[in-house]
Symmetry: C2
Subunit: 339 residues, 2 copies
DNA sequence: GTGGGGTACTAAAACGCTATAGAAGAGGTA
DNA sequence: TACCTCTTCTATAGCGTTTTAGTACCCCAC
């Protein structure tokens, strides 16, 4: 069953030493073109494949990068974004015959434990840090472990780790400008947990641009990103006397939940309430009305992350911050001029 | 940086041979309890962790199992189910210090290539086959590769591979009985691609039970599982003169898309049309009205799959078919007695 | 006090590959 | 002929672990 051919088998058959076969198979000098061709032919004939463990033992790379998502198992649901990221990463990595190992854990502490384990077992060559927090503890951990890493979403200024990011403050500004142009005066924001950097950035951008446009300073309500809290926050906002005429949601899941609440309360969307989602996925298109949202090419983003990570693995001192396309506003049926 | 301790380091410090350290760390006889305790203490002190590649080289397991999803990158969206499966699997596997490698590929051919690659590189110890097809080509491939595998969703009769399955024919029967009791006479089925075993089983069960209950024999419409085709199929069904009063969807994504179509056509749900989803996820709860659906503990299912796979790895001749809980019908707002 | 049988350990090989030092031979130059 | 260089290859060590065969020692029985 497991009599797969080794380099020694090939060497015996061709009549050269294992070292020569290794040279030939890895395309490095040390064998004549003639011998190389013979070796490659025999290798193909015997269906030889490198044994990764043997290579890794010699200090080579594991051929795996890690992506850890810290999620409460009960609030799964917003991971569509990461499925696409994963897809984009895999397409880049598989060209280098690497793979992504995605793991779901309960919280940041478990995530950090996993990085320690992975580093000590040489399981992965590098990791992607997502959902960055203010003063994120993971950054120091991966640095001290010597584990190459790239952050997804940490903006501009050269930080401690290389990063791939998009300007979501600018994106939020676009939303506010769009709503202001429609004559919305009261804009609310159903946000994620304030510990996340991107949540804080968006809230700040909303607030700031509301001031610029002379609107009622937009208020952000924190949630845990779950549909339940998104619904609850919406209900609270819409129950006020001076309720907002537009709500921006940090995720499409919460936006859809909020939309359902509005309908249930008899508040017509978009006539009495405009809804904007900061996130795009199939979800925004299947609810009715379809949601106006920010959209971007998540697959391409994943590909860029993978490239940056390969770069970080090759050159551990790299700290480059790669800015990607700013999410574009896609207008659908959920936004309109208020009554 | 990479000066992680090896067994030899521990041996030197304790003053024994590497072999003795290996015995001690793996809990096998050959060392006195006293020495064992000393070795374990030093190992903990030095923060030793096994080097997986070195172990794998000796023929041990890779500590990774594979889960491949064949999906067109554009029709991503129904993978919530698998995210939960993944979570359940990981919790079982991490107790055995194993992990899951999930990979998305374009089609079954690419999936098979991946199995060949994984087997030849010793990358995974086993794989889970999902989305089984009629006369599925993957089964013969993994068998010929000697790659331990478990199928998810292949029913009962001892097949060529061990399996974990649920009785979805029974579940469909429950749905038909429920709708018949509400006096629905015309039930349609927006199904997935007919090449899938579970799709065929459900369609057959619907047809059969419709006959039993004396209803108009329920018709199944095939789709590619995308929201677009789910919407199109719904539109076609609802445009007929004798349109159905209830539609059963094979996925929650299509059910939600179908719901939106009905609303858009001015067909009230549930008064003029009842909607049932064969799948549960957060999606069924955030649309309005919330969807009546079949629900099951997907996390637990993933855990069972992982256990079965570990079993299959330990005993490659195993062919056990483990039946899991039949999905339960959860009634929500999208179903009612027809007008 | 010799042999038998256990226990506690060591030495060395093996897993499959890569890397490095060096050997053998060809060819050129002085 | 002696010396050097270049190419092409071989031999060998090494990566970290497990496993096997073997050794040293002790205890006990005869």
């Amino acid at each position: 069953m497991s009599n797969r051919p080794t380099i020694a088998d090939i060497a015996k058959r061709v009549g050269v030493s294992p070292g020569a076969v290794s040279f030939a198979l890895n395309g490095r000098p040390g064998v004549s073109e003639q011998t190389r061709a013979r070796i490659l032919e025999v290798a193909r004939d015997m269906n030889w494949r490198p044994h990764r463990a043997a290579r890794a033992l010699g200090g080579a790379q594991a051929g795996v990068v890690g992506l850890v998502l810290a999620r409460d198992p009960r609030t799964l649901g917003s991971e569509q974004f990461y499925t696409q990221i994963l897809y984009g990463m895999q397409d880049v990595l598989s060209a280098r015959s690497s793979a992504v190992q995605m793991q779901l854990v309960r919280d940041t502490a478990a995530e950090i434990d996993l990085y320690r384990l992975w580093a000590s077992e040489h399981r992965v060559d590098g990791v992607v840090l997502v959902d960055l927090q203010l003063d994120d503890p993971r950054i120091e951990v991966v640095r001290s472990l010597g584990l190459p890493a790239v952050t997804l979403g940490q903006p501009g200024e050269p930080g401690l780790l290389p990063s791939v990011w998009a300007d979501d403050a600018e994106a939020m500004t676009t939303i506010v400008d769009y709503l202001a142009a429609l004559d919305h005066r009261r804009i609310a924001h159903v946000a994620g947990p304030p510990i996340y950097q991107h949540v804080a950035r968006r809230a700040a951008a909303l607030h700031e641009q509301a001031l610029v446009r002379g609107l009622r300073a937009g208020e952000s309500v924190g949630t845990d990103f779950s549909d339940a809290q998104g619904a609850a926050a919406t209900r609270a906002l819409l129950s006020r006397a001076d309720r907002p005429t537009a709500i921006v949601y940090d995720s499409d899941l919460m936006a859809a939940a909020g939309l359902a609440v509005a309908l249930e309360m008899g508040i017509e969307v978009p006539r009495a309430l405009s809804v904007v989602s900061f996130d795009d996925s199939v979800l925004t298109r299947i609810v009715h009305p379809a949601l106006t949202c920010l959209s971007r090419d998540t697959y391409a983003l994943g590909a860029q992350v993978a490239s940056a990570l390969l770069q970080a693995i090759a050159d551990p001192s790299s700290r480059e911050a790669i800015q990607t396309e700013t999410p574009r506003l896609v207008v659908r049926g959920s936004t309109a001029r208020p009554l």
